[in-house]
């Protein structure tokens, strides 16, 4: 019987050598560079950045499920104003990251070229292709805010419509707001007691909506104090707000026919440091013992310190703020509190001017629109129609 013998040692040996050589070459060689690198001017900005994006290297550790050595640990973002280089290291980012925003010295800068360099654990690197040139430019219009613009225009149209009708003599109803009913009571009390009224606008700047609303209320309060000849003291946190307050109080005293009673010294700047302001206003409260204190505007952590001190001197206190974190403290320590939008409605309520009443009615129409959108949107969402939520999502 002839037995055949086949020597398989050589092919197995060759195969083993090939596997070892291949493994060695892949283990010790360069990593694969990142792919699909792109650099674009960041949209909807003021021309202060360029965004660089890439797809991770096939050898990136974070690339689960991707074939590769998984030894790329990070990327270097390189930048140059010449495609031939030299490229300078701009930033090192960790593996797995696919985007970098370059905002380094973009003002008046030239067009830039970018490369993304993959770096493995052994320090081996591989550069992507060069992309560019890209120049950071500013956009005139933020395309992501179109829906906001539509909403603002719609809301403005409603306001204009209501103000137009108010001007033509249509009367609008305003519900009772307890805190504002008490304004006359507070001023009358101060007059009877012969003590001053203290009015603080909080810590908001002149661009803060609550400060603007507070100025409207202050105007009405100042008119009444001018009529009763009750001193009105307004310590200010912001020097610009102080200037506006002086103008508002001065014009209120003039409107009340008492320009001679206005004293500029009663509206004064203290400091723009939060707790120093609180300490000083506390001191004024303790020493001057005002009969009525108004806290109207935007407040922070000093709210309770002020309101507790005012309470301790026995003043009637009327607060109003849109700072929801501070409302609980005012509600606890003050006699009356205007909650959120009640502060914005206050000037219409106090003055009863048709123009402001019209805008208040317009605000209510706006809220009704939001309420309707919410209810309709909820029903549509349940039935799988996402128009309303898409509208609000697109804008936010």
């Amino acid at each position: 019987m002839i037995q055949r013998f086949r020597d398989v040692g050589l092919p197995i040996g060759l195969a083993l050598c090939w596997i070892i050589l291949f493994s060695a070459s892949t283990a010790w060689g360069q990593p694969a560079p990142p792919t699909h690198v792109e650099a674009v001017d960041t949209p909807n900005d003021t021309g202060n950045s360029i965004t660089v994006r890439w797809q991770i290297s096939p050898d990136d550790k974070a690339g689960a499920g991707v074939d590769g050595k998984m030894n790329v640990v990070g990327y270097h973002i390189l930048r140059s104003d010449d495609p031939a280089g030299p490229f300078q290291l701009l930033q090192e980012v960790a593996g797995g990251i696919t985007e970098f925003r370059d905002d380094d010295g973009m003002a008046g800068s030239p067009a830039y070229y970018y490369r993304v360099r993959a770096v493995d654990g052994a320090g081996e690197t591989a550069d992507s292709e060069t992309v560019g040139p890209v120049k950071a430019t500013s956009e005139w219009f933020h395309t992501g805010k179109v829906y906001i613009l539509i909403a603002v225009l719609l809301y403005s149209a409603i306001l204009v419509y209501c103000i137009y009708h108010a001007r033509r003599g249509r009367e609008f109803f305003v519900r009772r707001i307890a805190g504002l009913e008490a304004v006359d009571e507070a001023i009358g009390r101060a007059t009877e007691m012969g003590r001053p009224i203290l009015y603080t606008l909080g810590l908001g700047g002149i661009s803060n909506i609550a400060t603007i609303a507070s100025l409207n209320i202050l105007g009405e309060v100042a008119k009444r104090t001018a009529e009763y000849e009750t001193p009105l003291r307004v310590p200010c946190y912001d020097p610009i707000v102080m200037n506006v307050v002086r103008e508002v109080v001065r014009s209120s005293y003039s409107d009340a026919g008492r320009p001679d009673a206005y004293s500029e010294d009663n509206v004064f700047f203290i400091t723009d440091s939060q707790f120093a302001y609180a300490a000083a206003v506390d001191g004024i409260m303790i020493r001057e013992k005002p009969a009525a204190i108004f806290y109207q505007g935007h407040f922070y952590a000093e709210s309770l310190i002020l309101a507790e001190t005012g309470n301790s001197v026995g003043a009637i206190q009327i607060a109003g703020t849109d700072s929801d974190a501070q409302l609980p403290f005012f509600i606890t320590a003050c006699d009356y509190t205007l909650i959120g939008e009640e502060l914005f409605a206050a000037s219409a309520y106090l003055s009863r001017e048709p123009l402001i009443m019209g805008s208040l009615k317009g605000q209510d129409y706006g809220k009704a629109l939001v309420l309707a959108a919410l209810l309709v949107g909820t029903v549509l969402e349940i039935f799988g129609v996402h128009w309303v939520s898409t509208f609000f999502q697109a804008a936010s």
Binding site: I206, I212, T271, T332, K361, A395, S396
Partner: protein, 217 residues
């Protein structure tokens, strides 16, 4: 006990301010006036270094020395000039000029704030309220109850803030529910903030007993 003079000064001033809890006294007055004086001085320096120098002085200087184009000099002069109008208050004859920078500031502030308020207070809140109903089938019973409660809370609270409608009948009932929702929210915020304030007190007491007196480690 600390040998650091800074710690002693800080401890003394802390006690001066705390003395207000007893009543107004010369120590509190001293600390109060020092606090206000230092903060005003610091504010002035900050305004010079973070406002006047980078936004007015430096651009003007750069344009004059040729480091920046000349047209920037004139562009910078516009806001600087408007800012100077604030000083017109010092001259009674021209004090009316102050109304221009004030009008610009208020207009700019409102223009800046309104779209932001629209985005954060309406759009994002609406999106957050509606979103759970789009995936209601995948929500647990607890999450559905939460989403429905949120919707009811928003509707009732919003109804409370209608000013041109008398709060009687159905509207009155819904707005009363709204104020209950508001008070629950305020109650939780109150508790949360009180905890924060207590931790601030603990920090001050820790400073007095630890850093100053060395009684606690």
């Amino acid at each position: 006990m600390s040998t650091d003079i800074g710690v002693w000064i800080a401890a003394f001033l802390t006690l001066c301010i705390f003395s207000f809890l007893y009543k107004d006294n010369p120590f509190y007055k001293f600390a109060e006036h020092l606090f206000v004086g230092v903060s005003v001085g610091y504010g002035i320096v900050l305004t010079i270094h973070q406002g006047i120098i980078p936004f007015a002085w430096q651009p003007l200087k750069n344009s004059i020395t040729g480091e920046a184009p000349l047209w920037r000099f004139f562009v910078t002069l516009i806001p600087v000039g408007v800012g100077f109008l604030f000083f017109s208050r010092l001259m009674p004859r021209y004090s009316w000029l102050i109304r221009y920078p004030i009008a610009i500031l208020i207009g700019m502030g409102a223009g800046f704030a309104i779209p932001r308020a629209m985005e954060t207070s309406i759009f994002e809140q609406m999106n957050g309220t509606l979103r759970p109903f789009g995936v209601i089938n995948s929500l647990s019973a607890g999450e559905i109850i939460g989403a429905v409660l949120m919707l009811i809370g928003v509707v009732c609270t919003l109804t409370y803030f209608f000013f041109s409608v008398e709060h009687k009948g159905i509207v009155g009932g819904i707005s009363k529910l709204g104020i209950i929702f508001l008070m629950i929210g305020f109650g939780s915020a109150f508790g949360n903030t009180v905890m924060g304030r207590v931790s601030l007190l603990i920090q001050r007491v820790d400073f007095l007993l630890g850093d100053w007196l060395g009684i606690v480690g």
